[in-house]
Symmetry: C2
Subunit: 342 residues, 2 copies
């Protein structure tokens, strides 16, 4: 057990308190009841095969060419969209309401059904189907950018704690014209880092590239790697077992991922989820893809990546009030524990 300390995220500037004083053992973060048992098909589920007519008309699917009723990854509009392409495009105008600013909810909100099986989330899914999920997300990001939607966030809510309203494995894509706070903060932060002094006697480069370099050198927070990706628990992890998947080589725009890289991403995703599953059992989580907005295009200072945020603890008043997180297990200790699983 180390002394409590504060760590700063070099990109967003957010401070995290790493405080292991409560003596939490790593297995304390596991779901108390171990594994949740779901059927592989639920006749009442809108996302299960056979119920395709219950979703809004599909916008894209990967199907068996010999039997077109068989699909393995499918995208449909969100039935309850927070943002809509049907809103008039001029709703994009900013409207003043005294001192306040509002604008129409113009944008897009899609659901990506990741798997035909109701109970097959990432840890159980074969690597080649995880690849199909990543490739579909590439397609959808490309499509939404082509509609001129600058800011696209691709995210997954798994389980009730993570805010999921459906059990069936799915991701969501929300696209808007408006700047998304977190992404703006990251882009600004990485530009600031890029323009600063030297790091390790050489010119600074993209902050994520430097991070990949340093994590590989230290090794204490890495939990998986392969030719194109590394997975590590970030230095300033906000929550226990937070994990990032980062491409080794610089690339700001996820839509430029190659076929070979997507296969490699699926491989590293599978390895990471198997380790997380080993320690945390049936954990709820959010997963978010961070890629450059359309208007900023290919950038020297930004680097696409994926953040996995296990929801084993509550986001409380301190986090909401101070914007600072208290993490009760250091990423080094969490990584050590994860690495005892393979």
């Amino acid at each position: 057990m180390s002394q409590p300390e504060l760590r700063q995220d070099p990109i967003t500037g957010i401070w995290v308190i790493v405080s292991e004083g409560r003596g939490d053992r790593p297995d304390k973060f596991a779901r108390p009841n171990g594994h949740v048992t779901l059927p592989n098909h639920d006749p009442k589920c809108y996302f299960c095969p056979g119920n395709e007519h219950l979703t809004p008309p599909e916008v894209e699917a990967y199907r068996d060419s010999n039997n077109s009723s068989v699909w393995w990854t499918r995208t449909v509009p969100n039935k309850f969209p927070a943002l809509s392409l049907e809103a008039r495009a001029d709703q994009n105008l900013l409207i003043k309401d005294g001192m306040f600013i509002r604008t129409g909810g113009y944008g897009n909100h899609e659901v990506i059904i990741e798997d035909p099986l109701h109970n097959r989330d990432i840890p159980e899914r074969p690597s080649d189907l995880i690849r199909e999920m990543w490739w579909m997300l590439r397609d959808r990001l490309t499509y939404n950018h082509s509609k001129g939607l600058e800011n696209v966030v691709v995210f997954k809510n798994k389980g009730e704690e993570a805010g999921a309203s459906a059990e069936h494995p799915h991701s969501q894509l929300a696209a808007s014209f408006t700047h998304l706070q977190q992404l703006s903060k990251e882009i600004e932060g990485s530009q600031r880092y890029f323009s600063l002094d030297n790091f390790m006697d050489k010119k600074r480069q993209c902050v994520y590239c430097d991070m990949v370099h340093q994590e590989l050198e230290k090794g204490v927070r890495i939990i998986a790697e392969n030719p194109y990706f590394i997975a590590f628990l970030p230095f300033a992890s906000r929550v226990p077992f937070e994990t990032w998947l980062v491409p080794r080589n610089h690339k700001s725009d996820y839509t430029l991922i190659t076929s070979e890289e997507a296969t490699s991403l699926a491989d590293v995703t599978k390895k990471v989820f198997q380790k997380l599953r080993g320690v945390l059992k049936d954990f709820d989580y959010n997963m978010v893809l961070h890629s450059t907005p359309l208007n900023t295009g290919v950038q020297e200072s930004y680097h696409y990546h994926i953040e996995i945020i296990p929801r084993t603890t509550k986001i409380a008043g301190f986090e909401l009030g101070a914007g600072t997180y208290i993490n009760t297990i250091s990423p080094e200790r969490a990584a050590l524990h994860l690495n005892s699983y393979r």
Copy 2:
């Protein structure tokens, strides 16, 4: 039901999607089982009278002068402090770890036991005891500032959803040297607003003062008011039924609250919680006091206030990934519903 729209918080710049498309009725946000029944005394509770020896030695208490074993508000150090005054003061130095920055967990972490009764949270508590809670928080903020701790956040986690680990009504105070992200963002945002163009043909003033002015003029989001305070649901409410308590007159530093103002604050707090209780039943919530950091002192552009964040919905991947919130009930509609209770 109105069209979805995006609203920007004029202070933090955060965009909120107000999307009522799911047709949620206001009573959908209430706790499904109505009220939780707790005893007024729990012999196993560390914060109940009779168990004073189970907490670390008390640092301040309001007691009956005729019978010193009777207290009504009491402050003790947090038994599991995330930040500690016992850490060496030089731990405040920033330490470089390659590209990363860390510093010791120097600071303070206190627990304010708000009430001797185990089951008497704010909605049930007499107004004069709510006043004592606010006055104690003033004392503790003053004390921690006197120790040179620049950044102090006072927050409350009520209920499991809000991250509380104890049932007994309590608040917490966390004090550090390090800048707290959210407060920095608010201070920067209010300074930026202050330095901008005119608002309603007069020079802009503190953004909170302008907000008080506009909310009083429109009236549609106000749920309580009295001579010194107004309570309203902010224009860019991040979550359903988010409520702010704001002093009518400009004051940046909460420690300068007068005795008369504290009585008025207790009155408005009571009114607000009665209305929230009316609609949301036994809701879990966070409450956070936002006051100026010590080093910036009295400011023209910042204004202390209290934010109440009911935790009736989950913070999901979109919020964590995009830093943007989706709120499924507009503050105007929520206020209308609250105002049907008195």
